[in-house]
């Protein structure tokens, strides 16, 4: 009960922040009725999805300060579990999605255990490698469509059990609900024992150990929470796109974008990943459709991201949110 209260308690934020949150929430609720076109709607759905990814990443990457660049493998686990369950056994989304999350949790403990023997750059590289290995396996795994991926059977009529709808509005509201669950969870998480312990680990590992904190176990827990978050997003991607392949749900691209958005917006802050997604998702979409028409410009988008992250980290390592706080005189 106390947990729920903490999750819904935003009173330690300033009045302005709470006001913006309310206005933003009203906007999110009303958005489908504002007459936006399908392109803009799709961008909004991506924005909410990547906010969800970023909030998950923020547990281990932001609060825990571990440069985690392998989240795509868990997006993939979520997406493939939902797709395969539906194609092979006709299992509804509401059963397959939780199973996907459980598999992601189990897998993340397995991977996390050896992974967190490593520190710093070695850890970052290892996260990339484990993700690439899993992607390779799926690219060659005939049973799950290998590189061609899986197409989900399209139901004739809208079906809530299988999360199949004709209109994007339903998907929009669904991802919005997930977004809020994530937001409330993170609002609790940042104030929880694990949240505090992770921040201590990020600040000073030696001191954290002297305060009774089992560093490795804390990191594994945070890593698994992050993995569960993105697996939910992966499940959503499967039913929303109705088609997945190892590139769309497991690419390094995706891992980097997840981390980049959270870092750009402001790691270890509640709003950071949302702000980051609000900047980068539209930019990504715009660049994507623009560069798509210009062969030879592939990779330019990543050059732009790289430049962005360099500018931000040079100016204010705590991202856009850090800049905002600095301007308000709260910065350190």
């Amino acid at each position: 009960m106390e947990k729920v209260k903490d999750a819904l308690d935003f009173t330690d934020f300033s009045g302005v922040e709470r006001f913006v949150l309310v206005v933003f929430s009203i906007f999110l609720l009303a958005f489908p009725w504002l007459g936006a076109g399908s392109f803009v709607k799709a961008v909004m759905i991506q924005f909410l999805l990547f906010s969800l990814f970023g909030m998950g990443w923020n547990t281990i990457g932001g609060y825990g300060g571990q440069v985690e660049l392998g989240k795509a493998q868990y997006v993939g686990i979520g997406a493939y579990t939902v797709s395969v369950s539906m194609v092979w056994w006709n299992i509804p989304f509401w059963i397959s999605m939780p199973i996907g999350v459980l598999i992601a949790l189990g897998y993340s403990f397995m991977i996390g255990y050896p992974l967190f023997r490593l520190k710093g750059h070695y850890f970052a590289i290892a996260t990339i490698c484990t993700s690439l290995v899993l992607q390779d396996i799926f690219t060659n795994w005939k049973l799950v469509g290998a590189a061609k991926g899986i197409e989900l059977p399209i139901h004739e009529h809208p079906d809530f059990l299988y999360m199949q709808f004709k209109s994007d509005t339903y998907y929009y509201y669904f991802i919005m609900v997930l977004f809020y669950i994530a937001l409330f969870y993170m609002n609790w998480f940042r104030k929880s024992k694990l949240g505090y312990q992770l921040r201590m680990i990020k600040d000073d590992e030696e001191a954290a150990e002297s305060l009774g904190i089992d560093i490795r176990w804390c990191k594994i827990k945070a890593y698994s929470i992050a993995s569960a978050f993105v697996a939910v997003g992966g499940g959503f991607m499967a039913v929303y796109n109705l088609y997945i392949d190892p590139v769309s749900v497991m690419d390094l691209d995706l891992s980097i974008k997840i981390a980049l958005m959270a870092m750009l917006g402001g790691a270890a802050s509640l709003w950071g990943p949302i702000i980051g997604a609000a900047f980068l998702v539209p930019l990504d979409r715009f660049l994507g459709s623009w560069l798509g028409g210009h062969k030879g410009l592939i990779g330019v988008d990543f050059m732009i991201y790289a430049a962005l992250i360099m500018v931000v980290s040079a100016y204010q390592p705590r991202g856009i949110w850090g800049i905002v706080e600095q301007l308000r005189g709260k910065g350190k």
């Binding site: 024992k193 505090y196 921040r199 600040d203 001191a207 002297s210 009774g212 904190i213």
Partner: protein, 243 residues
């Protein structure tokens, strides 16, 4: 069975023997000082006891349990707190949050952790800096934060690595008074490394002297200052510095 028993600790850093067969005991409720010239192996001995280093040989017993090879978080959970000679200057958490992390060692509730942290701030007279960040504080205050958060884990044995270095006269006196209060009011056994001779001598009931990794003397402060080996160790160091 003593409260803390250290048997024959050896720590060899690839030829440099920082601790060489060091043995001693501490009884519950004591205040014991650990002194010795720079590089004598004091911090290394602390690290061997608390688990930052695993000793190459020897055994550490705490309250009758063998804690040799325990990880630092395990020795802390067992009831040993420690502070660091060099406190890392961090920017991520306020003073009260630092102490809360210590309190979280014994509770899962944020509200209780916060309450305990505020009690600790009150006990140490640090309320006015509770919302500041470590990097905004002078060194003496930083050390006190290090102590406060270690205390928040509710240790029965507190090991302090040069908490008084860099303090002025009044601050040193305050520290001495505080240590005595901890010992009397909170019933915490204290084991402290100190460079300032007068301070160790006034606060400790017993003193252990290390030099070159070897325990060269142990006894009450009055005897230690007259001990030949101790005088030699310290004068030797002064002569070396003079050249």
């Amino acid at each position: 069975m003593a409260f803390l028993e250290v048997h024959d600790i050896v720590k060899d850093f690839g030829g440099l023997v920082a601790n060489s067969n060091v043995s001693f005991q501490i009884e519950e409720g004591e205040i014991v000082g650990l002194i010795g010239p720079n590089g004598a192996g004091k911090t290394t001995l602390f690290n061997c006891i608390v688990g930052y280093y695993s000793p190459d040989y020897g055994k550490v017993m705490f309250k009758g349990n063998d804690i040799t090879g325990f990880k630092p978080f395990q020795t802390n959970q067992a009831g040993i707190g420690r502070t660091f000679q060099i406190m890392k200057v961090t920017t991520g958490m306020t003073v009260v949050e630092n102490i809360m992390v210590g309190a979280f060692c014994r509770t899962n509730s944020r509200h209780q952790a916060r309450e305990e942290a505020h009690e600790m701030l009150h006990f140490l007279g640090m309320e006015e800096i509770s919302e500041q960040y470590i990097n905004e504080l002078p060194i003496a205050k930083q050390r006190k934060v290090g102590m406060a958060r270690a205390l928040a884990t509710k240790p029965q044995l507190l090991m302090l690595d040069e908490v008084a270095s860099g303090l002025n006269h009044t601050e040193t006196d305050e520290m001495v008074a505080l240590l005595k209060r901890l010992n009397v009011e909170k019933k915490i056994t204290l084991f402290l490394i100190e460079h300032i001779m007068e301070m160790v001598m006034t606060v400790s009931q017993r003193v252990i002297v290390l030099d070159g990794g070897i325990k060269i003397a142990e006894g009450v402060p009055g005897d230690i200052v007259k001990d030949d080996n101790v005088i030699k160790a310290y004068l030797g160091e002064k002569y070396a510095k003079g050249r």
